[in-house]
Symmetry: C2
Subunit: 584 residues, 2 copies
């Protein structure tokens, strides 16, 4: 196990493999900064911290630099960064994330348990520690959508038993939990049986239903759109709340001004902050390269007024404790030597990164890329639907001619709402007029469902189609005309996945994501460039989306509030209510 050698190295009986001299070490347990500290590393782990000298084969003078533990991301979907685990590791390690606990529920919604196994496989032998969480809600809600798999307790148990698993991931069918539905309760029972962390997702729950949710053993939630939501969960007895990037979150707020500082201020007022954790959830490749990863989340909350040390604790020791991992999250003897050097705890520049005692990144660059990992061909043939005709994008009306009232989705915000509009019907076909048509088309070769809807404040022209479409990842397309929509879908099928922007019968941008229609095996720089092109072309169609694309969120029936799946229109203002397109 190596701890015998570690104890010898701590006393200079064996030379350390690495000695960081004169760091200002942040002790994340006591919240103290220890000046002039030497950190002795032997192999993968820290052997010594203190003021004494030790023999070492590699010595770094770190005068002026702070040493903090490598950061731990406790809730994220690697697939959202559109690269496979090796590419993801190379993207986040230079930014100080040394451990992630991903929920691979995007690929599992497409490929089921096999997708989980592939992600575990692809995450092995990386300098990034990957502690896998098991997706629990596939599909996100029972009966409302067609995913590539329907997972029940026995599937969850198969995954929990695999090596490298630490938790059940966001248990987001909170209504299923609160209503004691078998699917969710059986899944929770599996998690309890294996003693893993139960992670949650319970946007909007308060009062008794929130207590009910927590009472099952679910210990954390990252769905906090307003600070009151996070504070309420802590006061209801939840062990942890997770906070995402406040700047990105502010884009969902009715008024972004002051959002981040109000949020950070509310968190800062919590007397003991051990329960506050930071996480990334979904970070797009171009955003990741431009802004950063968990480091950006932490920097943003500090800039918004949260205590820098508490912020770093939230991304290190609090996260490790939540994940029940005892050898990460602190720079201390016996722990893995995952260490960041930074010049300023407030600015949190990521100067140098060590993982498992090895220098992996400096100045924001990996020293060498992680070994590539090829996903099998079967994972690259997942867009299983026939090429549609233009007519497939025409909405049939209940009247032959005249005007009807329809329930449109107002897409001015990612937090969509329903709006009632009148539209003209000619020869049984709705004339969308100023509206966009939405289509969600099952792509897993299961039901063959196709569902159409209407949206306002969506596109001005053209169409955008995507095989990323949370969480079932059916082919989702929005457009102002059937021809462009048809071409978008045809392209997605031909390329077996990605994001396509079409205008006037021409493909303007085409980001290829062949692995499960979600990820690319290319480096993140290539994918980010493709993503930037998508955003630029989409902007020409009238949508400026510098962060998340609306097309990805329109089909998820657990997000507020107006959603469309391959089956139904859903009102998710509080729980999930199926509503008709045509209003009588």
């Amino acid at each position: 196990m190596g701890f015998r050698e570690l104890a010898r190295a701590a006393q200079g009986e064996l030379p350390c493999s690495l000695l960081l001299k004169n760091v200002k070490l942040l002790n994340v347990r006591t919240a103290e900064i220890m000046e002039n500290t030497n950190v002795g590393v032997y192999g993968e782990r820290v052997a010594y911290i203190g003021e004494e000298e030790l023999p070492a084969t590699s010595v770094h003078d770190c005068k002026g630099k702070y040493a903090i533990p490598g950061m731990i991301d406790t809730h994220l979907h690697i697939e959202s960064s559109q690269v496979t685990p090796p590419g993801f590791a190379d993207a986040v390690l230079p930014r100080g994330t040394t451990t992630v606990a991903p929920d691979p529920h995007e690929i599992v919604n497409v490929m089921g348990v096999e997708g989980f196994r592939l992600m575990l496989e692809a995450s092995k032998n990386l300098p990034l520690k990957v502690l896998m969480m098991v997706p629990t809600c596939v599909p996100s809600v029972e009966g409302l959508e067609t995913a590539g798999a329907d997972l029940f307790a026995e599937d969850i148990e198969k995954m929990v038993r695999m090596e490298g698993v630490v938790a059940l991931a966001e248990i987001m069918d909170y209504d299923g939990v609160v209503r004691n539905r078998d699917r969710m309760m059986d899944i929770i029972e599996v998690g309890r049986k294996y003693g893993v962390t139960l992670d949650g997702h319970c946007v909007f729950l308060t009062g008794k239903p929130l207590s009910a949710y927590i009472s099952t053993g679910i210990e954390a939630c990252h769905e906090n759109f307003v600070p009151e939501s996070a504070i309420a969960k802590l006061r209801a007895g939840m062990d942890y709340v997770k906070i995402r990037n406040l700047e990105l979150m502010s884009r969902l707020a009715p008024d972004p001004t002051g959002y981040a500082s109000a949020f950070a201020g509310a968190l800062q007022n919590v007397p003991d902050k051990r329960s506050i954790i930071f996480c990334t959830d979904d970070i797009m490749p171009d955003v990741l390269l431009q802004r950063g990863h968990l480091d950006d989340v932490v920097r943003t909350v500090i800039a918004s007024g949260y205590d820098p040390v508490a912020a770093i604790q939230g991304a290190t020791i609090n996260a490790a404790t939540h994940l029940r991992q005892h050898d990460i999250g602190a720079v201390a003897p016996g722990k893995f030597a995952d260490i960041i050097l930074t010049n300023d705890l407030r600015k949190l520049d990521i100067d140098t990164v060590f993982t498992n005692g090895e220098l992996v990144a400096k100045g924001g660059k990996m020293l060498r890329p992680s070994q590539k990992h090829a996903f099998p061909e079967s994972s690259k043939r997942t867009v299983k639907l026939a090429v549609p005709k233009e007519a497939d994008f025409h909405i049939r009306a209940p009247v032959e001619n005249g005007r009807v009232k329809v329930r449109t989705i107002d897409m001015s915000s990612l937090l969509t709402t329903f709006a009632i509009e009148e539209v003209e019907v000619r020869d049984w076909i709705v004339q969308p007029d100023g509206l966009s048509t939405l289509a969600v088309m099952e792509r897993h070769g299961r039901s063959g469902n196709k569902n159409l809807g209407l949206a306002k404040n969506c596109l001005e022209r053209g169409a955008i189609g995507s095989t990323i479409s949370h969480d079932s990842h059916n082919v989702t397309v929005m457009g102002r005309n059937a021809r462009d929509m048809q071409l978008a879908v045809k392209t997605l099928i031909e390329r077996q996945g990605g994001v396509v922007v079409v205008d006037e019968g021409e493909v303007k941008a085409n980001l290829e994501l062949p692995v499960a229609g979600l990820m690319s095996e290319e480096p993140i720089g290539v994918v980010a460039e493709g993503m930037r092109k998508v955003r630029a072309e989409l902007k020409k169609l009238g949508r400026d989306e510098p962060w998340f694309l609306s097309v990805w969120a329109i089909a998820i029936p657990v997000a507020p509030s107006a959603r469309i799946t391959d089956k139904v229109l859903v009102d998710c203002s509080r729980t999930q209510e199926v509503v008709p397109l045509f209003v009588r």
Copy 2:
């Protein structure tokens, strides 16, 4: 598992079995006090906390009272309270301790693995949660003493695998760890293999050896005689330090004045206190009844200047996290309903105690005593030595007549020291004169060893003998004359264990402790009365010992600094150095 019903009770779909109304609830994770809170309990666990109403079959109006989690003692030896687990449970529950993680190393030093099994057995089905730690150092140091068993890694593994075990207990052969000796390293490897908490004991370690000790994965230490020692361990990267009763500890300090407040002040200065835990270690039955248990430790540190909320956190959530127990340590949905009501967080009066959702104690009294548990007869026949003769207490000198220099143990403090004295020798026999004679006699029927020494500042007259004598619990006797010493030992053999005070050929006090020579099956009140009698009679012999008896600590070769075992005289000023009685 019951969590389905819990979730229903949280929402009023099933009536709660208990509702505590209008408490001021201390949220130990956020350190906030939540006024006017209702706590709904269903069966063993908390279902709901909040301001709403819930139906319940039993309702307590708790207006004006604080609710805090039941306290958790992470380091203690039940045997030191001289009662078996049921009697111990009844003593500590009314004082607010609802979970203990005992190290039964006293009985294991006498009876080996079988003693461990007996304590596990005796701890079942109590209203007190008993999370057992496995003794790791039996005997405390290799080769220096004869215990009833010599445990190695394979024995430790047998115990770790038993149900109800959570940790390896105080790994106190720190020298064995630092020097990489096989016995300790193999034992640590067992703990690491089973993923249990590794608890420590490393008085005096600093610098590189301390780093070495911590690097093996040992995460806590309760041996902190001065605040600097606790702070140094935290700064060296240890996860937790445990603090005992500062008032009792002050009795070991050169100057008790200001000791507690200096200690509490140093702890108070640690910015984040998550790593600070409180524990009892060894509390005698009369002291327990008079002062309290963990409640007294917490009250004392608060009275000495430590923040009351942090103090309670140290006895609840910090302790639970250290023990890797996720369903104790907080009053929150899903956690066990182990709850204390108190009128004042600073005075910490223990008004009412619930465990597993049941009212167990009120006003310092158990509602009904725990069910008795009979230890087997074999556990009551452990004082295995022949009745000695008076001559057995005569020290043979290396000269026939004249004066010789001897290394005496100065017993003015529990932290004994060596002192060189000259004594007269007549006919090869040392004449102790103003000194007391010490005898440690192996009592496990193994070596038959007997070792004699001399002490100053010990007794003025008579003798005291005990089968409690940490950690090997050999018969240990101190006396001013051989006749009284002989009678003391004879009485201990006849009664098969206890503490005996003799003067002028007469037994003055005789506390019987037949279970392993350490514990009584009587209620603690009976034992405490016996203990008070021992102390009163001992005072007449010239030793006033209101807390710990010196006779219990004289034979433990891991405590500072002058010790005598059944084999040798040991200087434990830093490590363990065997020294001769006669000085040349």
